[in-house]
């Protein structure tokens, strides 16, 4: 089981390797990537803050629960911190199991739980301002445009 909060680029091959198992017939990988827009605004980049030690603890608890609940062979959960450009991966989940249906269910369950429970926060930076996103889909607390501060 690979669990990591890191400022470094997330390595998909490493996660797949870590999650693999000879008994696995299916590996599902989910990448949360930085999108160039959110709720109608152009995003320039994201800045991720985290409580790394607690984030890893919660990620590990969720991974253990997923392994049990979906009969996973193994899994990997990585979250990146710091400044992320458009197209870069912030979250990387890889799960392996005997059959495909459970691999999709486990991956989806893990993303949803991670977004609810892991102490990580994203700040959206636009051309004319920035905001911490509070809660998974909110626009966050708008701050004054950068040019006015």
């Amino acid at each position: 089981m690979l669990i990591r909060v890191t400022p470094d680029e997330l390595d998909t091959a490493e996660a797949i390797q870590a999650a693999g198992s000879p008994a696995a017939g299916a590996i599902n990988v989910f990448l949360g990537v930085v999108r160039d827009n959110n709720l109608g605004r152009r995003v320039q980049y994201l800045e991720y803050d985290a409580y790394p030690s607690m984030a890893e603890k919660v990620m590990r608890e969720l991974a253990v629960e997923a392994k049990e609940r979906f009969a996973l062979e193994d899994c990997a959960v990585l979250h990146r911190t710091g400044r992320l450009e458009i197209g870069e991966a912030s979250l990387l989940i890889a799960v392996s199991c005997g059959h495909r249906a459970a691999s999709f269910e486990a991956g989806h369950w893990l993303v949803n739980e991670i977004k609810k429970k892991v102490p990580v926060w994203k700040k959206e930076v636009w051309e004319d301002g920035e905001a911490w996103v509070e809660g998974p889909e909110s626009l966050g607390i708008q701050q004054a445009p950068a040019s006015m501060r």
Binding site: G32, Y48, Y51, S53, M54, K116, P119, K122, P136, G140
Partner: protein
């Protein structure tokens, strides 16, 4: 005490040293935090808390030497 994201920005710091005394709870320590940083009051309704990296309630006692963290609504992933 550890502050993150919007709360750290509003306080202007990510770490606050506040002495805990016997009988202190999350709520009583938070009250002392707000005396020093009244600008955090608006964030209180949405805050969660962690004691030693474990989610905690307002009413939970905070043992001496414990690490208390203010957790704004998370938005990872």
């Amino acid at each position: 005490m550890l502050l993150f994201a919007s709360v750290a920005d509003r306080a202007g710091t990510r770490r606050v040293e506040l002495p805990y005394v016997a009988g202190d709870t999350v709520a009583s320590i938070r009250a002392r935090l707000l005396e020093r940083f009244p600008q955090l009051a608006a964030a209180v309704p949405t805050l969660m808390y962690a004691i030693n990296e474990e989610y905690a309630r307002e009413s939970d006692p905070v043992p001496a030497g414990a690490t208390l963290a203010m957790i704004p609504p998370v938005s990872g992933g």
